[in-house]
């Protein structure tokens, strides 16, 4: 979809969150000179076209007890990447699964999965079972747990 100036205004207006009032879309519209129905229609269109991936609650997972946050990186032979990416991405406990570039010689890993758990030992045990059940013992991998978080916010758009 092609975004116009008013769309960008709308995008900027709601990025910090919807107003917590009975008619949130009307409140947003008042600020940018659109009526309630027009705001609803534009947001709907942006959702359908994928400009907005989803609208809803964005949680702070650490505060909800998900403190064991593992990035599992794999050095997958190029010819097996699609097959493995799709297989791992479909698993219940894997929350994100991306192909990213290797940065040789320092960084050989090209498939990145996120697993969010409540305890490190359980996440590690899960990864061991995953390697076993999916037959991945010949694919080198590393588990990078997150430590301190220094900044968490969504991307900002003007």
């Amino acid at each position: 979809m092609v975004l116009n100036e008013q769309d960008y205004q709308l995008i900027a207006e709601i990025q910090g969150g919807l107003p917590l009032t009975s008619h949130p879309y009307a409140a947003i519209g008042e600020r940018i000179g659109l009526d309630e129905q027009a705001v609803i229609d534009r947001i709907d269109t942006m959702l359908t076209s994928g400009v907005i991936k989803r609208l809803g609650i964005v949680v702070r997972h650490r505060e909800l007890g998900y403190t064991a946050n593992a990035m599992v990186v794999w050095d997958v032979p190029d010819e097996r990447l699609d097959e493995l990416g799709e297989r791992l991405g479909a698993l219940e406990c894997i929350t994100l699964c991306y192909q990213r570039p290797r940065r040789l010689p320092d960084w050989p890993y090209n498939l990145f999965c996120m697993i969010h758990g409540q305890e490190r030992s359980k996440v590690l045990a899960y990864i061991d079972r995953l390697v076993e059940s999916q037959g991945l013992s010949d694919i080198p991998h590393k588990v990078l747990f997150s430590g301190r978080r220094f900044k968490q916010r969504g991307a900002r758009y003007q």
Binding site: L20, I40, V58, C97
Partner: protein, 151 residues
């Protein structure tokens, strides 16, 4: 530890991470599905925001479709320089979040820029300011996106 959630809080979180009604009175529509009043839903959301269990209640944008740039970047920082470099990196408004990880590549952050071209420019600025290499690891292919936390 943050204050405990009750069953209704959990129902709200589990149900509305994936989407939210888009109609004139969305909180009322959602509240009806949950069997509570609109006012109670709003109060619970306000409380969970204040307790920082929610980061926000709104949209997650697709950066590239907005015309922006997005990338995951990593750096290898000696422990005795870590605090200082963290401050330098986080001072860039384009750095959306930044995590320490237990690996030689110990600093991982997301860059979000207004245009794709800005990614490289910001990376170079970060390298100049910190004196350390930034490894740019943009997404090449996405196999799954369904980031959702059951509580």
């Amino acid at each position: 530890m943050t204050p405990a959630l009750d069953d209704i809080d959990r129902a709200i979180l589990n149900r509305y991470q994936g989407g939210f009604p888009i109609c004139e009175r969305p909180y009322q529509a959602a509240a009806e599905q949950l069997g509570i009043t609109e006012q109670e839903l709003i109060q619970r959301l306000e409380r969970m925001l204040a307790q920082k269990q929610l980061s926000r209640f709104g949209p997650m944008y697709h950066a590239e479709r907005l015309g922006g740039g997005l990338s995951l970047c990593a750096m290898r920082i000696p422990e005795d320089r870590y605090e200082q470099v963290t401050e330098q990196v986080n001072s860039f408004p384009e750095v959306a979040h930044n995590y320490a990880r237990d690996h030689a590549f110990n600093m991982w952050f997301v860059l979000a820029t207004e245009t794709p071209e800005r990614i490289d420019a910001v990376l170079k600025e970060i390298e100049q300011r910190t004196g350390f290499r930034v490894y740019n690891m943009p997404k090449l292919q996405e196999f799954f996106i369904g980031l959702k936390f059951e509580v």
